[in-house]
């Protein structure tokens, strides 16, 4: 079977178009002046500039990590445009009517209607195009319940105290090489603040789009859930097809106070490069949630299908007693994609619990690694973790690796880790064929069954989309 499995070719990347608009960019390269320029362009408060400069100086002293199980040519950080914004977007717009119609069209094409009347599902969207936020929908409706949902640049103007209080508290500026870079040059992102005892009335979502072929994208998301509040947040991403590689180094910080809960879902579909491994996004992302309060909960769900390289470990630091961390992940790699992804669960407080379910699928010549850390601190009494990572290999040229680190310093803690590797068996396909189901359909059914534990955790519309996405991505890899 395996020869025919690989003989069929994947469906072309559907979101690979470019939008031609006038852009306001700064020259390539990175220096203190560039950092100052970005801050000035965004008219940021003084503390922000200092934050950026501290991060930039820290970044200069750091080295790019060499431990991930991915290979790529050295990145020339001086050959990247660190700020790119659509020209018509010089000032934040009052209403959607003022948004450049070309851009609205772009998002329509991506299936993200920004005009609120057209919106069927009850989801508020913050659309980010290259370096800036284009529009945020349902802002007024959210404001009624006290929820702040806006771009981070806007938050810096309108709620600087909140941003100053929380920014960089979960991911410190010097956390890692890419986090330091992001802290220095991040251009935009989303900011969410859920006040005390508030259940966010609708799902929030950010849609990221890289358009400029030379710019990197450095966005920053900060979500703060005050005690007793809850929110569900979705993130989606696409990019046009270019021959060159673009750098995407983002940071997401989540803070959950007592009894708060945050659900963060990502469907990542950046351009992955063509079948020869040319082009694609380098996705180096630091995502971390802090369960600061008692009984708080942070849940990460991710479906990773895009990017030439994925380097991403959504983590939970479980400080509050009885807090809960969850990580559900499906990572699919095809062609020459490389993914080194997983999670870190750091148990600090008593009776903290974490669950890790990771499903990796690797096809063609791709490399898929799960790298995870479960750490039980000396005070994490009664803490528990359950991890399961399953890999599926399609074709004998792809690889699947697991690097689970388990560190335990408390005797009452319980850690369980399980992993397995399998493939789609000929007998399984034969069984489907017997029942009149074509190999393509059979494979997509087997894969969707394989990933079900994770898809079940996604919000409804997303789950359906993710299922379709995987089927598309793998279409014609099996036959």
């Amino acid at each position: 079977m395996s020869a025919s499995v690989q003989s069929l070719v994947s469906q072309p990347y559907k979101y690979g178009f470019t939008t031609n608009i006038e852009v306001d960019t700064i020259p390539r390269g990175l220096s203190e002046d560039v950092v100052r320029m970005i801050s000035a362009k965004k008219n940021e408060p003084e503390f922000m500039l200092e934050f950026r400069l501290r991060a930039y100086r820290k970044w200069l002293t750091m080295a790019e990590p060499a431990w991930p199980n991915v290979k790529y040519p050295p990145i020339d950080y001086q050959n990247i445009v660190y700020y790119s914004a659509p020209k018509t977007q010089a000032k934040k717009l009052g209403s959607l009517d003022e948004v450049d119609p070309t851009m609205l069209e772009t998002f329509e094409k991506l299936g993200i209607p920004l005009s609120e009347q057209k919106r069927l599902a009850n989801v508020a969207v913050d659309a980010i195009f290259d370096s800036v936020s284009i529009a945020t929908t349902f802002k007024e409706k959210l404001a009624e319940s006290g929820v702040i949902f806006c771009s981070i640049s806007e938050a810096l103007q309108e709620h600087p105290d909140l941003v100053e209080k929380y920014l960089g508290t979960v991911v410190p500026i010097g956390d890692n090489y890419f986090a330091a870079l992001n802290s220095a040059v991040f251009s935009d992102g989303s900011f969410v603040y859920i006040p005390k005892d508030t259940q966010c009335p609708m799902d929030l979502s950010t849609y990221f789009r890289i358009n400029n072929g030379e710019s990197g994208q450095f966005e920053r998301t900060l979500i703060v859930a005050e005690s007793g509040s809850s929110v569900t947040y979705l993130e989606g991403c696409t990019a046009p097809m270019y021959d060159s590689n673009q750098l995407h180094a983002a940071i997401v910080e989540l803070v959950a106070m007592d009894n708060a809960s945050i659900n963060y879902s990502t469907v990542q579909n950046w351009f992955a490069g063509d079948e020869n491994g040319k082009g694609g996004i380098y996705n180096f992302v630091t995502k971390r949630g802090l369960c600061a309060g008692k009984n708080s909960k942070i849940s990460w769900t991710q479906v990773e299908t895009g990017s030439a390289i994925t380097w991403k470990y959504p983590s939970c630091v479980l400080v509050g007693d009885n807090s809960v961390g969850e990580f559900y992940s499906v990572a699919l790699t095809n062609n020459h994609q490389q993914a080194d992804t997983g999670t870190k669960m750091v148990h600090v407080g008593k009776n903290t619990r974490s669950t890790i379910i990771s499903k990796g699928i690797s096809a063609a010549k791709s490399k898929n690694s799960y790298r995870g850390l479960v750490k039980m601190g000396p005070k994490a009494e009664g803490a528990r973790n359950y991890s399961q990572c399953d890999s599926m290999l399609i074709g004998d040229t792809s690889s699947a690796n697991t690097f689970p680190y388990i560190q335990v310093q408390n005797s009452t803690a319980q850690v369980e880790h399980e992993a397995s590797t399998s493939k789609i068996g000929e007998d399984q396909l034969f069984y489907f064929a017997q029942r009149g189901i074509s190999p393509e359909d059979a494979v997509s059914m087997i894969i969707s069954g394989f990933c079900r534990d994770v898809f079940n955790k996604l919000p409804m519309e997303f789950a359906a989309e993710a299922d379709k996405l995987l089927a598309l991505k793998l279409e014609n890899t099996v036959g």
């Binding site: 395996s2 431990w67 039980m376 000396p378 890999s391 290999l393 399609i394 074709g395 004998d396 040229t397 792809s398 690889s399 699947a400 690796n401 697991t402 690097f403 689970p404 680190y405 388990i406 560190q407 335990v408 310093q409 408390n410 005797s411 009452t412 803690a413 319980q414 850690v415 369980e416 880790h417 399980e418 992993a419 397995s420 590797t421 399998s422 493939k423």
Partner: protein, 439 residues
């Protein structure tokens, strides 16, 4: 040693560590007997040492094992020494009578060794008396010699135990190798070496027993190379019960040809710091590899097992289980790596690591690591860390067994699962008694 010294040394710079390594190498080289100059082996190892730095916590392989305490000692290469029969008597097993090799400070003691129960044609003895081409050709050739401590041994070993089984020879009597170190005023560097070649269709049970004679600090840097040719069968027990002051770094490199079968059990009870690099390389199809590990440590002991099973041919079967009991301030590290190359289709591998944490100050770092390129394989691994299950203790209590007794029973059962893989009765029961005392 005071921990303050250790802290000073953990701050040793890379240059200082390299100077330390150079010193060890020079000392080890100077102690090599003339008859064992072995130009090619030694010079290759030395070249390797010049390229590699002394490991630090920045190296992934040594992240959790701090060698600062070791660096605080200036080890001197051991010289010839003798031991009295009284020192050996306790370690001799009745099953292995007539097939016992006693190695003192890395050199074979002809006086204490016994060879009478070995079949004709089987070579067991000192490398000095078996310096023929065939043997030297295999020496230090096993994959896995690209490592600092293995190279250090290759540069400075003063003798080696050579075991050669001709075609289709089955040795009924288990062979026991007893490694001892005779302490001196200055801390010693002892480098035992062992080479076993099991030719096609041969079979052997091998026991390597590292016993300590004192708690005085010394550094045992042991290397054992095991070659299994086609269809050969080797059952191997490696017992490490060195004194409480010992630093023990050991390498077991196993090379398995087609249809061979290797069953290994490694027991780590002793030493203040013990590291075992256990590497299995496959060179043919359809090999069977079963490796079992048991560690039981308390006080400030630190044990570290890094295993590697590298599969490069189809139809390999691997079963690995590693269990550790950690008490007091002890620290256990396990890194179990399985690498399944593209050619190793239809591999069936499983790995399980279980850790029993008995104290709040104890610590476990474990990483079961799978690297798979072949698609038609079955690979599973698991790891658990926990204390004794409350409901299991309760169950025993409900049958009238006191809680402490129930705890002992459960610890004993936990350990026995591994010890039962040792086929030599007396050895098994002696180790079991250590466990029941310990529990």
């Amino acid at each position: 040693m005071a921990s303050s010294t250790a802290e000073v040394h953990s701050r040793m710079t890379a240059d200082q560590r390299d100077a330390y390594l150079k010193g060890l190498v020079q000392g080890a080289k100077a102690a090599v007997p003339k008859a064992l100059a072995l130009e090619t082996v030694r010079s290759r190892a030395e070249a390797l040492l010049n390229e590699h730095a002394f490991p630090s916590a920045r190296d992934e392989d040594w992240r959790f094992t701090d060698l600062a305490d070791l660096l605080a000692h200036n080890f001197v290469a051991a010289g010839e020494a003798t031991v009295g029969e009284a020192d050996v008597a306790d370690l001799r097993l009745p099953e292995t009578a007539g097939a016992q090799v006693v190695v003192v400070n890395g050199r074979i003691s002809a006086e204490r060794s016994q060879f009478q129960n070995l079949p004709d044609g089987v070579i067991v003895g000192s490398l000095q008396s078996h310096l023929d081409l065939q043997i030297v050709e295999r020496l230090a050739q096993a994959s896995g010699h690209h490592e600092v401590f293995t190279a250090l041994n290759s540069v400075g070993f003063q003798d080696a135990v050579v075991v050669w089984l001709p075609r289709n020879t089955v040795v009924e009597t288990p062979l026991q190798i007893i490694y001892l170190s005779q302490p001196e005023e200055t801390p010693l560097l002892v480098q035992p070496r062992c080479l076993v070649v099991a030719e096609t269709g041969s079979a052997l049970t091998l026991i390597e027993d590292f016993g300590g004679l004192s708690a005085a600090p010394h550094f045992t840097n042991a290397v054992t190379e095991l070659w299994l040719d086609a269809n050969a069968q080797l059952t191997h027990s490696r017992i490490q019960r060195e004194g409480a002051g010992t630093f023990h770094i050991g390498k077991t490199a196993v090379t398995q040809a087609r249809d061979s079968q290797y069953i290994g059990t490694a027991v780590d009870f002793g030493a203040r710091l013990a590291r075992h690099n256990w590497e299995i390389y496959q060179t043919g199809e359809q090999t069977t590899t079963k490796i079992y590990g048991l560690g039981a440590i308390a006080a400030n002991q630190h044990i570290d097992t890094h295993s590697l099973v590298a599969l490069s041919h189809p139809h390999g079967v691997v079963e690995q289980q590693h269990k550790v009991i950690v008490d007091d301030h002890a620290h256990s590290v396990f890194n179990g790596r399985m690498a399944v190359a593209q050619k190793a289709q239809l591999t069936n591998a499983s790995q399980l690591n279980r850790n029993l944490l008995l104290s709040d100050k104890a610590r476990v770092d474990t990483k079961p690591q799978l690297e798979i390129v072949a698609d038609n394989v079955k690979c599973a691994h698991g790891a658990t860390v926990s204390q004794l299950q409350a409901d299991e203790i309760f169950y025993l209590q409900s049958r009238g067994i006191s809680a402490p007794q129930a705890q002992r029973l459960l610890i004993y059962a936990f350990a026995m699962e591994m010890l039962e893989t040792i086929s030599v009765e007396t050895l098994r029961s002696r180790l079991a008694s250590t466990i029941s005392k310990w529990a």
